[in-house]
Symmetry: C2
Subunit: 243 residues, 2 copies
């Protein structure tokens, strides 16, 4: 990167370029998932492991919430926790994700126990939680910017999975519908914040690295699923064994 | 596990059984590494990624050292840091590991920059550093017990690599020789500590889980190497590209 800071618009373009090159919609496992090349056990493995990501998002957001200095920022960030945890039993993003694992025939207690997780899933997700506690607030907010790219992957995923798998229904994919409005609202805020506060070359480099880091978290999770569950399938000791 | 605590000897047997089932000498990547089935670029990728593990071990040990309550325990644990960091420039385990990456033709600045690391390597190693800071001291000490199993893998590795690769010499494998005496000394201490202090069923379960966790750290690193660098080889964005 040059020694002259980017304009806010050029910074946004650089961030969008990272998505175009590193977002996990480009991963072979996602292409197979959306394209109908997986069997039910492989879709189960994806939903089971991705559950841990969903389940830790409120922890990630709470770690950051605890560090935010103003009521305005905390109100904005608190909404993310409300989206994931809901306000009544059975509501919120985590509960909706469990409808997906239910619909795939996974035992709910087993899913929630985390016993069958791939260790790499746990390490990648935990790295994200630690990142928002250890890096600057600017970097922590920037790491959420993968949501800039999620509406595209969600529409590809929902239409592809409904078309290609007879064990997938609109009801089991209920997680994704509210995300189509929540993610743009959240990423609009985060992008504005980053464009306003990343002014120096160093801050802009840190923001770009934070988004690359977050892309690598999502990518690592798919590497592990592909390695473990797609042929030849080398499931690590102790992880979910399809029945 | 039953509701009656194991005898110290039965606990040791249970811990050794975990090694027999989950230690990374059983991983297909290690079998290929030791058996001569890898090319030089693949051995480079292994040494480059494993460097990060070596480089973080003193941080892992310092995090635990900071939590140990007595001079006796701290003296014992401090020796591990001395082994890895040495007392003069060019000495210690990390410096010896760099002789391996040098011997494999990797640029030392590039290795030390960590730029080419697989993200999964970073997440797995960092998970180990966090583990010893967040879990009980008993679990943190137990997580070091993979060293019970390392003399076997080291002798397999040294003899196999010397026999099978013309780009490997005794000098480049200098890292491993002192480990053959350091690891048993360290694991004798840790095993005695664990056998003495893990008395309840809950403590024994925690100790067993800690060793499983550590095995999964090492296993995850090899999953990522195998997925990324062994055919078809799906190197994630930004990671080391063999020239």
């Amino acid at each position: 990167m040059s020694q002259t800071p980017l304009s806010p618009e050029a910074l946004e373009a650089a961030l969008r370029q990272i998505g175009a090159e590193r977002y996990h919609n480009l991963h072979p496992f996602h292409r197979a998932l959306h394209g109908g090349q997986l069997n039910k056990a492989q879709v189960q493995a994806w939903a089971l492991n991705r559950y841990y990501y969903q389940a830790r998002i409120p922890a990630k957001d709470a770690v950051l919430l605890a560090r935010l200095p103003t009521t305005e920022l905390r109100r904005e960030w608190r909404r993310r926790i409300e989206d994931h945890d809901g306000s009544e039993p059975g509501t919120g993003g985590i509960a909706r994700w469990l409808r997906l694992t239910d619909g795939l025939g996974l035992d709910r207690d087993y899913v929630e126990s985390l016993e069958g997780l791939l260790p790499t899933t746990r390490f990648a997700v935990d790295a994200y939680v630690h990142f928002v506690g250890e890096k600057s607030i600017l970097e922590a907010i920037a790491s959420s910017l993968t949501e800039l790219f999620s509406p595209t992957i969600i529409s590809e995923r929902v239409s592809g999975m409904l078309r290609n798998y007879d064990f997938i229904t609109e009801e089991t994919l209920a997680y994704f519908t509210p995300r189509l409005t929540q993610a743009p609202r959240d990423s609009d805020f985060a992008l504005s914040y980053v464009k306003e506060h990343a002014r120096t070359v160093e801050q802009q480099e840190a923001v770009i690295d934070a988004l690359k880091f977050k892309c690598s978290v999502l990518w690592s999770m798919l590497d592990a699923l592909d390695y473990s569950y797609v042929a030849p399938g080398r499931i690590p000791p102790g992880a979910f064994q399809p029945s």
